[in-house]
């Protein structure tokens, strides 16, 4: 009798332990990366980590799955109308509810697209070709473009749907103006249709998401995670220590120096893939005079010879070998290989040649060099600050004394969009997988709805016209030819100093099955656990 009681007791304890173990590990996912989402307003920032968090809570009509393929989201089908190629018709998913219980209808979709085209929206460049979005019936909308736009759907993967009623009722009809330092209700609260609902959030500290019990995708997606705890950890060593000690389950950016350490620890694994993101430096060549330089009356960046000298002074191989520990692919064009328009000729890096660079500097009249300030983020890209430091040394060798000013991305990015920085680091992912996205944000001159990230001061009327022409060019051969012409001009004018394309390294517990998404956008509804 006594034995039986003991056995029962042991059994009960074992059962409780097992239950506790599954409850703790199979449902809660503790996720860390170096930086936080900049805002919860889905149209206020066009930035990777911001979209990543938004993708858990909000949904676009269509999105890229974990393999990077376009997949139906809130639209079940789309096609260009046979009788009018300027119109795309979207069939919306039925029976979808927002987190507060409201139905998702065509009115919400039209409202969301119109919101995303407002002046304060960071997403407006993606919709520059759109003339009007119309409701056809409760679950159908038409999107009319200024000319036939065969690639329109590629632009919609990060355009999230909001509830018209909720947004209006809370006074958030216009996207938050981040550059002006504005805060709105929608920047701190959410009401999406996504698989996860916002439970609590302290920016830069902790965000907790809970599974949406009424999610339309039940049965379609694994939905193995019931709770997500998202913690930004800027320090590389602390982030890795958190993964090694089991404090977090998944980190999105394993520091390159710690890949071996994480991979060799039992119970942990590193999953690797090339990322759709290029890292480069931009410099303002359009200003008459720079504020941060020591040359008065003229702008050294305005001389293309200076820009070319800088380009060949940068030793991309050294950055790859030492700073990135081979976890990057050096490039000479601000376009990742995934993108339509990419060629290996554009990608091939120039020879690192300090003597030739010095000669170019002397030819341009800057034989004695000059000084300038470089603005750099320190929590956004892989080893961003270390790359900037390396560039400081390399540019120093041709006489350019660079003062490095490294800041968190929340302060860095507004300097680019406000055009207050004169020399800066930027990384660019291409969610549309097409060159036009790069041109429209980074090459076209800054106008009302284009060129918002073009801080180079570059304004070439011929290039501008070609960028606009791309939007309605239906002949794909002709279109690709124009893309080639624009790239030739961009390279000729040495608009930017490309460095490399990033390689993604996600670190996670062995029990997690998760492919690396080429845009670095984990969608946790796809995650499964053993």
């Amino acid at each position: 009798m006594k034995n039986l009681v003991i056995r029962l007791g042991i059994g009960a304890v074992a059962l409780t332990l097992a239950a506790a173990a599954t409850a703790a590990s199979a449902e809660t996912l503790r996720w860390a990366r170096s930086g936080d989402s900049l805002t919860l307003d889905p149209h206020a920032q066009n930035e990777g980590p911001t979209h990543t968090l938004a993708h858990q809570i909000y949904e676009p009509l269509l999105h890229r799955d974990m393999a990077g393929q376009i997949t139906p989201g809130l639209a079940t089908g789309w096609k260009a109308l046979a009788d009018n190629p300027n119109v795309w018709r979207f069939t919306l998913r039925k029976g979808v509810k927002f987190h507060d219980g409201a139905d998702f209808t065509a009115d919400d979709a039209v409202y969301s697209f119109n919101r995303a085209m407002m002046p304060t929206s960071a997403m407006k460049e993606l919709l520059t070709s759109v003339k009007e979005v119309r409701k056809v019936d409760d679950h159908t909308i038409d999107m009319e473009t200024n000319g036939p736009n065969p690639l329109l759907i590629n632009n919609l993967t990060n355009l999230f749907m909001m509830d018209a009623g909720w947004t209006e009722a809370n006074g958030a009809s216009a996207p938050q103006d981040v550059a002006a330092g504005e805060t709105t209700f929608a920047a701190q609260n959410t009401n999406g249709t996504g698989a996860f609902m916002l439970e609590s959030r302290v920016p830069d500290q902790k965000t907790v998401l809970k599974a949406n019990p009424n999610y339309w995708g039940k049965g379609t997606f694994p939905l193995a995670v019931s709770e997500i705890i998202y913690t930004p950890i800027q320090s590389a060593a602390t982030r890795v220590a958190a993964l090694l000690s089991g404090e977090v389950d998944f980190i999105q950016d394993v520091p390159v120096q710690d890949l071996g350490r994480v991979g060799s620890q039992s119970g942990l694994k590193v999953v690797t893939a090339a990322q759709n993101r290029v890292i480069f430096f931009g410099m303002n060549s359009g200003k008459a005079d720079l504020e941060t330089d020591n040359v008065s009356g003229k702008n050294p960046f305005a001389d293309v010879r200076v820009r070319r000298a800088m380009n060949i002074a940068i030793n991309r191989d050294a950055i790859k070998k030492v700073v990135m520990r081979d976890q990057s692919s050096p490039t000479n064009v601000i376009m990742p290989p995934f993108v339509n328009g990419w060629t290996s000729e554009l990608d091939a890096i120039p020879a690192h040649d300090v003597a030739a660079a010095k000669a170019l500097m002397a030819e341009a009249g800057y034989g004695d060099g000059f000084s300038v300030t470089l603005n750099c983020p320190n929590d956004r890209y892989i080893n961003d600050e270390a790359i900037c430091q390396a560039a400081v040394g390399m540019l120093g060798q041709i006489g350019i004394k660079v003062n490095l000013d490294a800041k968190p991305k929340a302060q860095h990015f507004p300097m680019i969009t406000n055009k207050t920085t004169e020399f800066y680091m930027l990384g660019w992912g291409v969610p549309t997988f097409d060159s036009h996205y790069i041109f429209n944000f980074l090459v076209h001159a800054t106008t009302e709805n284009r060129g918002s990230w073009n801080n180079t001061g570059y304004d070439n009327a011929d290039v501008n016209a070609k960028v606009v022409a791309l939007e309605s060019e239906t002949d794909l051969d002709r279109r690709n030819a124009i893309i080639g012409e624009i790239w030739a001009q961009v390279q000729e004018d040495q608009l930017y100093l490309p460095i490399h394309n990033q390689v993604l390294n996600w670190g996670m517990k062995d029990g997690i099955n998760f492919d690396v998404q080429p845009e670095d956008q984990p969608h946790f509804k796809y995650l499964t656990m053993n």
Binding site: Q257, R261, I319, E385
Partner: protein
Amino acid sequence: MTSPPVRPSEKPAGAPESAPTSVSASISASISASRLQRALASDFVYDFTRAPIAIIAGLVVLFLFLVAILAPLVAPTNPFDPASLNLMNGFTPPMQANMFTGESFVMGTDDQGRDLLSAIIYGLRVSLFVGVMSVLLAMGLGVSLGLIAGYVGGWLDNLIMRIADIQLTFPSILIAMLIFGVLRGIIPPDLRDEMAIFVLITAIGLSEWVPFARTVRATTLVEKEKEYVQAARLIGLGRHQIMWRHILPNVLGPVLVIATITLALAIIAEATLSFLGVGAPATEPSLGTLIRIGQDFLFSGEWWILTFPAITLLALALSVNLLGDWLKDTLNPRLK
């Protein structure tokens, strides 16, 4: 049985002077020589030569100060000159050849290919400069305020000492961070890098003045009742003259002790601020900045980037502290 060593001041009267004096006892023997001799024969030096820990600590501090002052002469390279760096030398282990360039470095290199030995020597310079300057600032401020509070008294004494009390309730590193943040906000962005060191000095200096003020005030309260002060008052000397010419020299003993201990604290405070990323800029690294950089590479096995700067900081702070401790014991009459 050997007789106990005889302190110089306890020498029996009439004992013969030591040999060197009689040798050089010529008319030309300068006053300074005899002064030096008197100094060498003092209790202070006598105690020092009998304290092996103080000797070792003193030698370490002396060595580190010399190295820091002579940095451009003794450092193999100048790590502040980005143009001299070769990134390919990055992460070279100590005493081993780099796998790309074949160069080797005594203490290895950091992530940017900087020679770590040179970086430490120059970093030491920044750390010591910030430490010494902020102690001088704290001392100047603390001694003046303490003297005024103690001698003048009344509401001024209350005001100064209550501010000191309030400041004491916060850890000094927090005060330093607060002052650092405010100063950085005031300074225009393009001057921040150049001003970073001075901002650090001000922040640390302003956060460490309280112990000076309290000690000086307490000593002043005692001193101002003594006969020589009353005599000075009787002959009609002004307040300022009495405070600065008569009382000040008599309160400086404890100040010297506090200054030494505060120097160790200031060096650590600077390292802490730089470690947190708000101190010396990465392009002009102090020991704390070097430790911050090295911390990222601990897991991956590049231990030297953190270890050597940390050992240097430890040796410096420990030696200064031991020296301060010894000074405290020596100058405190109650411990004799």
